[in-house]
């Protein structure tokens, strides 16, 4: 079994790998057989015909069950009638159970959320600036409320004054507090979260009852679940197949009477239930709920099932460079010495100059020196008497003076000026090295030293955007799936091109403005493509709304969250790729089980038709290729198989079928083999085994 707790990647947690385990993939959540028992009461509650009618196939089975119950009561001594009746009811209950189990998993999560939503008392600011206490439920859009350390934020809104650290673990599960401040892209706060420090004034932007947490509860509980377009279409197909089989069975009676083999209503009902696509009919809604659930497990909230389906169809992915393709910050990748300087000398100087540098760049220089150049680890506290020179906007350098040595690293112009000022020599190739790195899309940092040999330039640190590991493979997989990746960056085209090539994306958009992004989306959509993107800023909102799948980061503004159709609570843009995979897996599971369900029918005919008519036409016994024990046991076996297969497939429906990125062709071949051929063959085996077991029971003829 795989993860129940998703890999949470904090927005700043650029050191961690993206949530990408080759084994875990999009396989879903845990399935615990105990859940079946726990959901049993719900399954019985769902027998209400007003609920059942939503699934046309299972509704027909329920009507059939009622019918056979009445018939069984009329002939109480008929064990066959009672057994069929019992198994028909079980078929309906099993179907409800599948749905109840799928919903049950959301319910637990909803309960946790409800706890966060305890009725809060809001401190509303009146027009004259005074505070009044009102229940959170009475807040209106536009109200200003005050929250101080320890307060629960009463509703969704934007910070208009102040800055505070907020504990959002109630929603995201992430315990590290986040900073919320007025203005900019970090102003959105969510009702139900807790202010840990300071004081902020919040302008309420959502009506009570429609807040983010309310919507989340509805979503995970499945209360807001609407059938998605593809699910509706599939339901129509299943309903029409049901009609075809209803017709085949209803018209069979006159044919049977003519042939001198009139059938009982119980047998005809059993035949009908076996033929109509009960397997997929029973599991269809569970598959949909479980698909949404798999997203929730990954801390992604889809505001509509439609968006999840669209994710499977996406053919263009817009990925922000920073945070998605590369780590958030530039990192040192190489030390390049000038002519006449030694590599070790440069590395040592670079390390020394950066020991006290707490910027990500500085830390990456220290890390590179130890990891790649094998220098011993040192820390700034090891050096006594060292005088650290911090980076300032004026000097544009940092470094250290220790034991008579001065080491500096910094912007090329400043470092050269520093060396020349002290009468030192600047190696002739320093500038060309510098330009080479710039042109390759990197950032050069010059390292210089002044010691007994005088001031001189040692070499250059190559800082560059580091592409996250495994991205190239990921993009190759996406390409195989027919998905084009476009990198979005504010960098100049030269830098963008270098990173795009390194990461292996198909295309890039450099110096991108929100308008450019929007234009790109529209262009792709005009060609009939479906576009997915992530975004967090207010200026991303129009593009998020325009995209077919717009994933807003939870750290983003309310405008962005409103515009997108999904919210990633972990604010990890790499997750977009997983969302696409979950969407695909949802559709594949539906298709696979539909194929399986229809293919199953062939075996059932071979069990039931000879059982019904071999008396009138002995030749038809040749169709009894499973050589089933007796007509009754044959029909019963088919009905029992039909019911049990539903329970057997519940884990598959909840987890989703195994999914690996591959081309459509190989995927179809594989799934046809497993679910088409498997669906054709397995019931022959299953029915035969059940029949053999039944024949052991004394009294069954």
């Amino acid at each position: 079994m795989s993860t129940t707790t998703p890999v949470r990647t904090a927005p700043e947690g650029d050191e961690k790998q993206p949530a990408h385990e080759s084994s875990g993939r999009v396989s879903g959540g845990l399935f615990d057989p105990a859940q079946l028992v726990k959901s049993l009461p719900d399954a019985f509650r769902k027998l209400d015909p007003r609920v059942m009618v939503k699934s046309p196939v299972m509704f027909v089975v329920e009507i059939g069950s009622v019918l056979t119950t009445i018939l069984a009561f009329k002939k109480p001594g008929d064990w066959f009638g009672w057994t069929i009746t019992a198994w028909l009811w079980l078929t309906v209950v099993f179907a409800n159970l599948a749905e109840a189990v799928a919903e049950g998993r959301g319910k637990a999560q909803a309960d946790t959320l409800r706890k966060a939503k305890t009725d809060t008392v809001a401190r509303r600011l009146t027009k004259d600036g005074a505070e009044e206490s009102v229940p959170g439920a009475e807040l209106r859009v536009g109200d200003l409320v005050v929250c101080e350390a320890g307060d629960i934020i009463p509703g969704d809104g934007d910070v208009v004054e102040g800055v505070a650290s907020v504990d959002e673990s109630a929603i995201t599960g992430e315990s590290a507090p986040v900073i919320r401040e007025s203005g900019g892209d970090r102003c959105a706060v969510t009702g139900g979260t807790k202010v840990l420090s300071d004081r902020i004034v919040i302008k309420i932007t959502t009506k009570p009852g429609e807040t983010f947490i309310d919507r989340m509860i509805n979503l995970v509980e499945g209360a807001a679940r609407q059938k998605t377009p593809n699910e509706i279409a599939l339901n129509i197909l299943l309903a029409s197949l049901t009609i075809v089989f209803l017709l085949a069975v209803v018209t069979l009676q006159p044919f049977a009477i003519y042939s001198g083999a009139e059938q009982t209503m119980i047998v005809l009902t059993a035949l009908l239930v076996c033929l109509i696509p009960t397997t997929i009919g029973a599991l269809l809604s569970a598959i949909g709920i479980a698909g949404m659930d798999r997203l929730v497990q990954r801390n992604v909230l889809a505001m509509s099932g439609r968006a999840v389906e669209a994710a499977g169809d996406v053919s263009t992915l817009l990925l922000d460079k920073t945070g998605t393709i590369t780590y958030g910050n530039r990192r040192a990748s190489e030390f390049v010495p000038v002519k006449g300087a030694r590599q070790e000398e440069l590395a040592e100087a670079a390390q020394l100059s950066s020991l006290a540098d707490e910027t990500p760049e500085g830390r990456s220089v220290v890390a590179l020196a130890t990891e790649k150049y094998g220098l011993a680890e040192r820390s700034d506290t090891d050096l006594t008497g060292a005088e650290w020179v911090p980076f300032t906007a004026q000097t544009r350098m940092s470094g250290v003076d220790v034991d008579g040595r001065k080491v500096r690293k910094g912007a090329t112009g400043s470092v050269i000026a520093w060396v020349e000022e002290r009468g030192g020599t600047v190696a002739p190739d320093a500038r060309s090295l510098n330009d080479g790195i710039s042109q390759a899309g990197g950032t050069p940092l010059l390292v210089a030293v002044e010691d007994e040999k005088g001031p001189r330039v040692l070499g250059v640190i190559h800082l560059k955007d580091v592409v996250k590991e495994g991205m190239r493979e990921r993009f190759d997989e996406l390409r195989a799936m027919g998905i084009k990746t476009v990198m979005i960056t504010g960098d100049n085209p030269l830098t963008a091109k270098a990173i795009a090539e390194e990461a292996g994306v198909d295309d890039f958009l450099a110096e991108a403005t929100p308008e450019d992004k929007m234009a790109l989306i529209k262009r792709e959509q005009a060609g009939g493509k479906l576009v997915a993107m992530t975004g967090d800023g207010t200026n991303d909102a129009p593009a998020l709304a325009q995209a077919d799948v717009g994933v807003a980061m939870n750290t983003g503004t309310s405008a962005a969250k409103e515009a997108g159709n999904m919210v990633d609570l972990d604010s990890n843009p790499t997750k977009l790729i997983e969302i696409v995979e979950i969407g695909k897996q949802l559709l594949i599971t539906r298709g696979a089980l539909t194929t399986f369900s229809i293919a199953n029918d062939v075996a059932k005919y071979f069990a039931i038709i000879p059982a019904m008519f071999a008396v009138a036409y002995p030749g038809l016994d040749k169709l009894n290729i499973m050589s089933l024990h007796s007509p009754q046991s044959a029909i019963l076996s088919a009905v029992i198989f039909n019911a049990l297969i539903i329970i057997a497939l519940v884990p598959l429906a909840l987890k989703g079928v195994r999914y690996r990125p591959m081309s459509a062709d190989s995927m179809l071949r594989r799934n046809l083999l497993v679910y088409g051929l498997g669906g054709l063959v397995s019931p022959f085996i299953g029915i035969k085994i059940i029949d053999m077991l039944l024949s052991l029971i004394p009294g069954i003829r």
Binding site: L234, S240, V244, P254, S259, G482, G583, G619, L623, A664
Partner: protein, 563 residues
């Protein structure tokens, strides 16, 4: 040469001939329907009927054209039969007017491209009805079928429009540029091989045994040509293509099968051309060919199987088959005619072996799609492709799409309605007919005593009749006396509903598809031009049809054939 080898060689020759004309004919038809120019003769016709051939039609308008034209044809043909008794001389050949129920049945049958015949041609229809009525409908009902198929193809080929072309232009072009010229050539070949073509009266001929026999003349060869080319199947004579005037020898037999199959197969090329991807056409063709070859092989196998002394002596099940065609030629003909909604017969289908009759029936039950009737075969197959794409397409992890068009709620609704129609008609009417009949062993159909046999064979006769009518095939199992008010009326209704209701859904589907913006193909798209998809399509067709009709087939042909 053994009869089996001769059968196989005939089939190979047929296959080669069809392969030879596939591309030129398919390309030609694509040009005909894509062309912007009108022939002079066509312009005259447009002026006569007051149609503007360049006006684009939305799907409801197209449908109105189809229905209005067919309704007028139905009425004219009905009236012509009803006034036959008043027509002079050769026009009526002295035959009486046809009774109302039979006239309705015949009119529905010919307008619906079915050509179910509850009458015996040489004993009831004069030259006027045959030539002005039946032969005309043989042309135009076929042209209507092709027109509807072309409209659906345009639905796939076009995007962001609601225009599907012009029905009148498609109708006239199909008749003038495709069916007429091909028929002329075919008729000449048939005449050259011995089929008759005249307006002679009835001759009384002395028989060898001393009795006399009445023999009609008639414009037989010309009607025979369009009967096969337009997958109509209504014979000039009661014996249909078993009659030597219609089908004189083994060569004409094979030639007629060729005529039956040539347009439906070539239309897949037209389809590929018009949607701009001939490979898509090949996949559909491959599906059709696979089913056709499989069914022919099965048919030959059951008919050549020697059970019992009589069959062994004859080298197979020769009862009801013509000596000059043999089992091979008859099996090829029977399979082609039932897989194409033609319904012409060169042997008694009631005399096929039990399983052979089942294969003929199953061929029709597939919905006449392999390769099916002219036009109707293509649109029927495309609807099945939509169903297959929808089920299997999900398994590649995308919302299903076919030829770049998404198969959404509306499309699946229309396709589902389409596939519901014929099973409803076949099973519904058969069930009511059987409920009216008594238990086995008695004279059946107490109402009118029309079923000749009892038991499973008797049931097969009725099932075959409604399968044939609702699928617009028109062939008869024989044995059933269908010229009763009950059968004339119900079969006529089955024909009309089985022909025109599907067209409503096909045209609505075409309209819905044409409005869509195409989705570009990527590596994630289901490749519908690959053999894998063709195989999948065959599987979908066989399973869906098999599941629908299995119980009925079990009680008819299977009960008979397995005993």
């Amino acid at each position: 040469m053994s009869p089996v080898l001769s059968g196989v060689l005939q089939f190979v020759a047929l296959f080669a001939a069809l392969a030879l004309v596939y591309r030129p004919l398919g390309d030609y038809m694509a040009r005909v329907y894509d062309s912007k120019k009108h022939l002079r003769a066509e312009k005259w016709i447009y002026r006569l009927i007051g149609a503007d051939p360049d006006a684009e039609m939305r799907w409801p308008a197209y449908l109105r054209g189809v229905l209005a034209f067919s309704a007028v044809g139905l009425l004219l043909l009905y009236l012509l039969q009803r006034v036959q008794g008043a027509l002079p001389g050769r026009l009526s050949l002295g035959f009486h007017s046809i009774s109302p129920d039979q006239a309705f049945n015949t009119a529905a049958s010919f307008v619906g491209n079915t050509n179910w015949q509850s009458y015996s041609g040489e004993q009831s229809m004069g030259h006027a009805v045959q030539t002005l009525g039946l032969a005309v409908q043989n042309f135009v009902s076929a042209a209507v079928g092709i027109a509807v198929a072309i409209a659906l193809v345009r639905g796939f080929a076009r995007s962001r429009t609601s225009n599907l072309g012009n029905f009148w232009a498609d109708l006239v072009r199909g008749t003038v540029r495709i069916l007429l010229p091909l028929s002329v050539v075919a008729a000449v070949v048939l005449v050259a091989c011995g089929a008759i073509q005249n307006f002679a009266g009835i001759h009384e001929i002395g028989q060898l045994t001393g009795g006399t026999q009445q023999v009609n003349g008639g414009a037989v060869a010309s009607q025979e040509a369009i009967k096969e080319l337009g997958t109509n199947g209504g014979g000039y004579f009661n014996a249909n293509s078993a009659h030597p005037f219609e089908n004189p020898n083994a060569f004409t037999n094979l030639f007629e099968v060729f005529l039956i199959l040539v347009i439906p197969f070539a239309l897949t090329r037209t389809f590929g051309k018009m949607v701009g991807n001939v490979k898509q056409g090949y996949a559909i063709l491959g599906t059709m060919v696979l089913i056709w070859v499989g069914f022919t092989a099965l048919m030959m196998w059951t008919e050549f199987a020697h059970h019992g002394a009589a069959l062994q002596a004859a080298g197979g099940a020769m009862e009801g088959k013509e000596q000059r065609f043999g089992i091979g030629g008859s099996s090829i003909f029977a399979t082609a005619t039932t897989l194409t909604s033609t319904g012409a017969v060169d042997a008694g289908h009631s005399s096929l072996t039990g399983l052979g009759g089942g294969i003929a029936m199953l061929g029709m039950m597939l919905g006449e799609i392999a390769p099916g009737g002219v036009g109707s075969g293509l649109y029927g197959m495309l609807v099945m492709a939509i169903i297959a794409v929808f089920i299997a397409g999900l398994m590649v992890g995308r919302t299903p799409e076919y030829l770049g068009k998404k198969i959404g709620t509306r499309e699946i609704k229309l396709a589902a309605c389409y596939i519901l129609i014929t099973p409803t008609l076949v099973l519904g009417f058969t069930a009511v007919s059987m409920a009216m009949s008594g238990p086995p062993g008695q004279i059946l159909n107490k109402a009118d005593g029309s079923v000749l046999h009892s038991g499973a064979h008797g049931f097969s006769e009725v099932l075959y009749a409604f399968t044939s009518a609702a699928n617009n095939n028109g062939s008869a199992f024989a044995g059933l006396n269908a010229n009763t008010p009950w059968y004339n009326t119900t079969l006529g209704l089955a024909i009309l509903l089985g022909r025109f209701l599907p067209m409503v859904f096909v045209l609505a589907l075409a309209g819905s598809l044409a409005e869509q913006q195409p989705v570009p193909e990527t590596a994630g798209t289901l490749r519908t031009e690959k053999p894998l998809f063709a195989g999948l399509l065959v599987g979908t067709i066989l399973i869906i049809t098999g599941l629908t009709y299995f119980p009925a087939l079990a009680l008819g042909p299977m009960a008979e054939g397995l005993s």
